[in-house]
């Protein structure tokens, strides 16, 4: 019971945080693969699975970073910009692939916020793109 009340309090609290407008949201996830960074970068850079929903904005070979903008217009989020960066892992043959997305919820006017247009919904929707995206990227990397 106590746990339940605590969870409920936390939920109400976090909802009141989400109730406010002008705050960009951030989703950042990463995976580790057993491939050298330079090799991982060559795969990440040319990975085409995202092409349906995202368009490459630019990439930088020096810092192994690729930037995307969103093509998918029906998601519950707006102003989505993201980048994927390849970093060195714990040893020479390991890389960390990190995906960072910045976006806003779709409803930008004063509260009350309509259901399904709040920050929490936007974050959940972007996580649904980022997490499986990284999984498919890992698959492609490890088949190389």
């Amino acid at each position: 019971m106590r746990k339940f009340i605590l969870a409920l309090t936390a939920l109400v609290f976090s909802m009141s945080v989400f109730a406010h407008g002008p705050t960009p949201q951030k989703v950042q996830e990463s995976i580790t693969v057993n491939i050298a960074p330079a090799k991982a970068w060559s795969v990440v850079k040319n990975f085409t699975d995202f092409n349906k929903i995202m368009k490459t904005r630019s990439f930088d070979d020096e810092i192994m970073k690729i930037k995307y903008e969103m093509l998918k217009k029906d998601g519950p989020f707006s102003d989505y910009n993201a980048y994927i960066i390849v970093k060195k892992g714990a040893n020479d043959n390991e890389s960390v692939i990190q995906w960072t997305a910045r976006f806003y919820r779709i409803y930008k006017l004063n509260p009350p916020i309509p259901e399904g247009q709040d920050d929490a919904t936007a974050v959940a929707a972007v996580k649904k793109i980022v997490k499986p995206g990284l999984v498919s990227l890992k698959k492609a990397l490890q088949s190389k």
Binding site: V17, H20, G21, P22, T23, N81, Y83, K108, N110, P111
Partner: protein
């Protein structure tokens, strides 16, 4: 005899200590500091700009974003858009001395030159709230255009300048709260900066800034990097944070042109300078850090980790 000797040593020691305390209090001045609002973890990082490290982390309200520094009064005002309040920090102790409750989200803040008033943009109700610094409470307000975002006070003309993000305009108010000019900007103007006879707006959707001449009301548009958030000028150079390019546009103000871009951290949002130390500081929302550059050669001196989603929308360096 032995006793007298002891007494003598004690007196000498005490006098020596007193002299030391005297010199310390006379000549010791605290290092310059930057105050960074971390919207993701509800804190303000206090950064020592000589040691180039975080020396304190202060818990404030939820989702701190806007900030302004009152140098003469040793105060920092921080706007928390999650709890709809303002935290006031005393820079001598770096502790919160007062929280002003508002019923609206304070997006950005600025003060007048004598630091008697702080102006706050009220994002939801299209107002500017006026806070009396001595009384530490809201004493007045000005009704303004849609979605007031950035705010700046022009010393030369005593103008209050506000960007209206969703109306693609900038408004100029005089001392008597009267709207004296409303001008179109590029699309989605967010940050605004002013110095001398000019004001500058960062137009997020147009990848440009608008320069407004406050004397003859002419405007000029300059192309910068992707999704610019804020502008700052120093001598003949203008600096613009390009949030999507992770860069800073450097503009030659004499020829009104971007002359180069320099790398920042991820998603750079806001910027300020320390004049005596010749430092330019940029907050990086994406990498939870600040980048510190030398204003002499525009080289990066150090990137310092701060807190989650560092923003500091407004003036954030104690001079």
């Amino acid at each position: 005899m032995i006793n007298q000797n002891k007494k003598f040593i004690l007196i000498t020691l005490i006098s020596f200590l007193l002299v030391l305390i005297y010199f310390y209090s006379t000549f010791y001045k605290e290092n310059p500091k930057a105050y960074i609002t971390n919207q993701g973890d509800n804190t303000v990082s206090v950064v020592d700009l000589v040691a180039l490290e975080v020396i304190k982390t202060i818990k404030v309200g939820i989702a701190p974003l806007g900030i302004t520094i009152l140098n003469k009064k040793n105060l920092v005002f921080v706007g928390n858009v999650g709890t709809d309040d303002i935290s006031i920090i005393d820079t001598r102790t770096d502790q919160i001395i007062k929280t002003i409750k508002l019923n609206t989200a304070p997006l950005s803040l600025t003060s007048n030159p004598d630091e008697s008033k702080v102006y706050v943009t009220d994002w939801f109700k299209n107002n500017i709230l006026i806070i009396s610094v001595d009384e530490m409470k809201v004493i007045d307000s000005i009704e303004v255009g849609k979605t007031p975002s950035g705010i700046a006070f022009n010393e030369k003309y005593s103008y209050l300048i506000v960007t209206n993000r969703d109306a693609n305009s900038v408004e100029v108010y005089d001392k008597n709260k009267k709207l004296i000019k409303k001008l179109p900007t590029g699309e989605h103007p967010f940050g605004v900066y002013t110095k001398g006879k000019y004001a500058y707006t960062a137009n997020v959707y147009n990848d440009s800034i608008t320069i407004i001449n406050l004397e003859d009301w002419t405007t000029k548009i300059i192309k910068v990097g992707a999704h610019p958030y804020n502008v700052f000028t120093h001598q003949n150079l203008g600096f613009v944070t390009n949030t999507v390019d992770d860069s800073l546009s450097v503009i030659d103000l004499k020829i009104s042109k971007e002359i180069k871009q320099i790398y920042t951290g991820e998603t750079p949002e806001n910027l300020d300078v320390h004049r005596k130390l010749n430092l330019l500081v940029v907050t990086n929302w994406g990498s939870d850090s600040i980048s510190v550059y030398s204003l002499k050669n525009l080289k990066l001196i150090k990137e310092i980790k701060t807190g989650a989603q560092s923003r500091s929308f407004g003036e954030f360096i104690l001079q």
